[in-house]
Amino acid sequence: MPALFPRWTNTAVRTVLISLAVVLPGVPISVMAWQRTPGATGSGYSPDQPVPFNHLLHVTDFRIDCRYCHASAERSSVAGLPPSSACTACHNEVWSNSIALAPVRQSLATNRPVAWNRVNRLPDFVYFNHSIHVAKGVGCETCHGRVDRMSQVVRTAPLTMQWCVDCHANPGPKLRPVDEITVMGRAVGADQVALGDELVRRYKVRRLTNCTTCHR
């Protein structure tokens, strides 16, 4: 009886089987890997803003505290963006005719807000609360990066669930004393492990990894 299939089909079947073995797990794996790249998470995202507000200048040179503008970070779930009137508190005196500040002046004249582009965005089903993180000793820098070096704000954290849970499962290494919350470039010393444990005790920091901590 002659062969039912020609000889080349052996190679063909082998090729197909091997490529299936590669492709079938490979596609999801590469998608999952891609999901974690900065390109997918948005880490490094730095949109242009209507007013080219320079954190480098205001934080490093003028030493303005974060909470002058982000006033509700200690009290509310949102840190808050400054109202237009907060800008003109100083900019009535300095740079009062700057072209860069035209949107702020226009906002005050028309009573319409300045539309900033959101840099750090969480999905709507995530309920992040600034006040509790501040109260427990999570510094601004820990999530927002070296804002004091940013002339235009960049998102430095991937803001993935894994990233959140890493710290929630083991908060100690990321904690700092509450009075150093706004310090930028705080050196992490060799004693951070001991300090972390001490702060966990002092601030009664819990390892909250259950779902309704963030999802409600």
């Binding site: 999901q35 997918a40 948005g42 949109p47 509700s72 200690e74 009290r75 509310s76 779930s77 949102v78 808050g80 963006l81 400054p82 109202p83 237009s84 009137s85 907060a86 906002s107 005050l108 009573n111 319409r112 807000p113 300045v114 539309a115 900033w116 582009n117 959101r118 965005r121 999905p123 709507d124 089903f125 309920y127 609360n129 006040s131 509790i132 501040v134 109260a135 427990k136 009664k204 819990r206 259950n210 779902c211 309704t212 901590t213 999802h215 409600r216």
Partner: protein
């Protein structure tokens, strides 16, 4: 609220299937779209972004105020709650108050001033109705001018009317709300002081301007089963919340109420009223012997008992009830009267009948109708609508372009009460302030602004309000600020007055009995139709029948059998006024030979949701406005079967005792030997004991206090962003309310005993749902919550199948995608809005728990379990719901959980629910009790 109406052909189905398969994978690839942040230009001092603010205000219904506290997120009202200090609320909020939030954001609201179908703007209206322009048409004294307002108790409106009368002395002023009280003096009750209460066709626990307070006072005497418990008898034709909460409920034909009272009156000792004392009589449910027992019980508590007549009973019934209360020495102790704060109360010249007469005579040139909806909600024989259309110049000011608005020459959008300043009186006369929370969304105008324009007064509503309140004695900045902050003026209840002389009607011989009594009742959800466009209310199951999106002719089983009709058949109800076809709904416990019909349906206005829902019964309402009439009811043979959307189909417990009830006597016997059971039943499910370091949340619900009023259901819907699904989906059991109220009937079809049981996620310690979820979307938190994670859920619905309590809800469609932009503003920003294909359920208001937890930790203060109040608990007028932590042995929830009345529903399954129920205690009169 739409579903896939078109039949899908097989070919299209495969096409769609292919496309959705191909695109499904791409769904996760999109980057989150860019988002804008809009900070304030000038940030208000009292406002911190992310922190809700609360303002006191008040809502008027049928002229009376209920004090409220409204939660606002960044200037956007999101939740309406009761004002704990206001005498008509005491912290609770009824379904209408809570659902009025949705009305504020309703996209069907009238949005522009128009004249003869062309938009004109407010200036044109105020010009056309200014004194200068109007005088030419209505005469120097305003004889041709008439105003129709909703029933109101507002001082500022009263002052504006006085100004108007100064300008136009002959103008006709009329007040009308179909369900408002019109007597010159209104009775006040002290339910707390009454040991025995007899309710005559009165739903005082769930309807009327004082229901929240009366429910609280009633329940305060029932919190602990003891000899101090009050006892409630109810005699009624239709089944009401009050009747079904009564210790003894008796059916009675509406036309027999007066003879029953006459016999009771004579039993209590006045022989001048003839009654067949010797003969044992039956009044279509209640018998003379039962009446004798009630009379004896009332006499034992002279001065400490109370007879309440339904507010819509005829004057003769009210006179008899007043006489009985007088006889029992209750007047001045449990019942007294105050002068009605409603404008024009007790004076027929202010009535709508007087206005209809003037319209018919052609005496009115210009009619301004502020609020209400007289073209729809007036008795058919009055023919108001036809007369209204014939008036040369009509203006309607209302929230919607409803039946009246469509027929009016001018339409002005009205401001919602959350958009305007105003005032009003609570039922006890307390002066309440209406404070706005937002600018009018559609440029709406309040009644005061309209009156000011007509009078040519150029002052803001706030200035006018302060002037008027100054005249009532609220002088000075401090007093004003205090009144606004509190929402009312402390200690401003009206003084008691001597009631009218009681003329005891001599008992008329019982009318001929070959007809059927028809009772016109306020609908539990649409009221008089003014809430018909409210999705939360349309979809709220009626507390008694569980009917949604509909009204029906309620008949007793025996009467239905006699008429050869069943539920869903159509009957023709014929009254002297008109005849109307209505679908039948058989209600166990309804009185025989009577039919109850409900106002508020069959709307024909521009409200999209209300259109085509139910049947309008106003046309057959007698012109006198009497709520009981005689009718003939016949089966309509040519009509098909009507489908009702009813959320409960089975009413028996079949021996499983989910909702336990016992008499005070049997409880006392049982309690003597009660020992807490420390051994929970065995469980199939594995579980570890919860950690003791964190709170362990638990709830108890007292079935003895729950009346089934459903305020909690609306509170939950509002707090947790629960969508409305529409009638078709309710028919398929797809309603979304996380909290439902199950209703069970025990005993005979004719006269069952009722029990209402709020059913929500039981937060089982060994939760069957958690074991079957393939993606870990439902899980247990360390603090004892059964968590539901929407973003993980893939919609297998295994959890719902495995839930023995059937409290999980599935989003069959993207219900939230179909709501308007304005309605989105009603959403609670602290709760995720769920999309299609996601399971959801009660979370014990986890957003409130976390908020309190976080704020206590940030402030460094101890976190007490009792500081968390769930939405359902907050709204409950009887405080039947208690919430707290099991880690606090002193907490109320622990005390109740360990008490003799506590039990778990379906305990034998070993789910160990965190919600426990307290069995209902009936304070049965041994003389009437058949149970041993």
């Amino acid at each position: 609220m739409t579903s896939f109406d078109d039949e899908l052909s097989r070919r299209n189905f495969v096409k769609l299937l292919g496309a959705s398969m191909a695109l499904a994978g791409l769904d996760g690839c999109s980057r989150m779209p860019g988002e804008k942040i809009l900070p304030y230009v000038h940030q208000p001092r009292e406002l911190t972004p992310g922190i809700a603010t609360h303002y006191a205000t008040a809502m008027m219904l049928d002229g009376f105020a209920t004090g409220l506290v409204v939660e606002s997120h960044e200037g956007r009202p999101t939740k309406i709650e009761g004002n704990p200090d206001h005498p008509a609320s005491l912290g609770a909020a009824g379904i209408f108050e809570q659902a009025s939030l949705l009305q504020l954001y309703d996209s069907n609201r009238a949005s522009a001033v128009r004249s003869a179908h062309a938009p004109t703007g407010w200036e044109a209206f105020s010009e056309a109705f200014s004194p200068r322009a109007l005088r030419n048409h209505v005469g120097g004294h305003g004889a041709g001018l008439a105003l129709l307002l909703e029933a109101t108790s507002s001082s500022v409106i009263a002052d504006m009317i006085a100004t108007l009368k100064g300008l136009y002395p002959e103008a006709g002023i009329h007040y009308y709300s179909p369900l408002a009280r019109t007597e010159a003096s209104i009775p006040q009750y002290d339910i707390r002081a009454a040991n025995v209460i007899l309710a005559i066709e009165s739903d005082f626990l769930a309807a009327g301007p004082m229901q929240l307070r009366m429910s609280r006072e009633f329940s305060d005497r029932r919190r602990e089963p003891s000899a101090d418990m009050n006892r409630l008898y109810a005699i009624e034709s239709a089944v009401t919340v009050t009747g079904s909460s009564a210790d003894h409920r008796f059916r009675c034909r509406p036309s027999m109420i007066q003879p029953v009272l006459a016999e009771l009156y004579s039993l209590l000792g006045d022989a001048s009223v003839p009654a067949q004392r010797a003969a044992e009589r039956s009044y279509g449910g209640i018998t003379s012997s039962a009446l004798r027992v009630i009379a004896a019980d009332l006499s034992r508590h002279k001065g400490q008992c109370l007879v309440i007549a339904g507010e819509r009973q005829p004057p003769s019934v009210h006179a008899l009830v007043a006489a009985i209360n007088e006889q029992l020495g209750n007047t001045g102790r449990t019942v007294w009267r105050i002068r009605s704060p409603l404008l024009g109360a007790g004076d027929g010249s202010f009535s709508i009948e007087a206005l209809a007469g003037r319209l018919r005579d052609g005496a009115v040139d210009t009619l301004i109708c502020i609020g209400g909806n007289p073209s729809y909600n007036t008795p058919g024989p009055l023919q108001f609508d036809g007369a209204f259309r014939k008036v040369r110049n009509t203006a309607y000011v209302g929230l919607y372009e409803n039946e009246t608005g469509q027929n009016a020459k001018w339409l002005v959008p009205a401001a919602h009460y959350l958009e305007t300043w105003g005032d009003g009186r609570a039922y006890d006369g307390t002066l309440s302030v209406v404070q706005p929370l937002v600018q009018p969304l559609n440029g709406g105008k309040s009644a005061v602004e309209i009156l000011a324009a007509v009078c040519g007064v150029e002052k803001s509503p706030l200035a006018l309000l302060r002037e008027s309140l100054g005249r009532t004695g609220l002088v000075g900045e401090t007093a004003w600020t205090d009144a606004v902050r509190r929402g009312f003026v402390v200690g401003a209840a009206a003084p008691r007055i001597q009631g009218p002389t009681i003329v005891v009607p001599t008992a008329a011989a019982p009318e001929k009995t070959d007809h059927i009594d028809v009772t016109f009742a306020a609908d539990s959800r649409t009221h008089d139709g003014s809430f018909a466009n409210n999705g939360w209310l349309q979809e709220l199951p009626d507390p008694v029948t569980k009917l949604t999106w509909d009204n029906a002719a309620h008949l007793s089983p025996a009467t239905a059998a006699r008429l050869l009709v069943g539920s869903g058949d159509t009957v023709l109800v014929r009254t002297p006024a008109s005849s109307i076809r209505l679908p039948v709904l058989i209600v166990a416990g309804h009185a025989d030979d009577s039919v109850t019909v409900h106002f508020g349906y069959g709307r024909r206005g521009a409200e999209r949701l209300a259109a085509g829902v139910g049947t309008d019964v106003f046309p057959m309402w007698p012109a006198t406005g009497a709520f009981v009439s005689s009718a003939s009811v016949d089966r309509a043979v040519d009509a098909g079967q009507h489908t009702f959307a009813i959320t409960q189909s089975h009413w028996k417990m079949d021996g499983r005792e989910q909702a336990k009830s016992e008499t005070l006597r049997s409880y006392n016997a049982r309690q003597a030997t009660f020992k807490p059971d420390d051994h929970p039943p065995p469980s199939l499910f594995k579980g570890e004991p919860p950690p003791a370091a964190v709170k362990q949340w638990a709830m108890t619900i007292d079935l003895g206090l729950c009346t089934g009023c459903s305020a909690c259901v609306v509170a939950c819907q509002s707090e947790n962003n629960i969508p409305v699904v529409g009638k078709e989906d309710v028919e398929k059991s797809r309603e979304m309310q996380w909290l439902r109220i199950d209703r069970y009937q025990d005993g005979t079809e004719e006269n069952p005993e009722f029990i209402a049981q709020p059913m929500l996620c039981q937060q089982c310690e060994r939760a069957p749902c958690e074991y079957v979820c393939p993606v870990g979307a439902t899980d247990h938190s360390p603090d004892g919550l059964n968590e539901m994670v929407y973003n993980r859920c893939v919609g297998t619905r295994f959890c719902s199948n495995n839930c023995p309590y059937k409290v999980r809800r599935f989003n069959w469609f993207d219900y939230n995608a179909e709501i308007s932009e304005t309605e989105k503003m009603a959403k609670n920003p602290d709760v995720t809005v769920r999309e299609r294909g996601v399971m959801e359920k009660c979370t014990f208001c986890v957003q409130r728990i976390r908020e309190k937890e976080i704020s206590a930790e940030v402030a460094g203060t101890p976190f007490l379990g009792s500081s968390v109040v769930t939405a359902c608990q907050q709204a409950c007028p009887t405080r039947a719901i208690t919430f707290g932590s099991l880690t606090e042995p002193e907490s109320e929830v622990m005390r109740q959980r360990e008490g003799p009345r506590a039990y778990n529903v379906l305990d034998e399954l070993g789910t160990r629910p965190r919600v426990r129920y307290l069995s209902r205690i009936r304070n049965a009169n041994p003389a009437l009790d058949t149970e041993q």
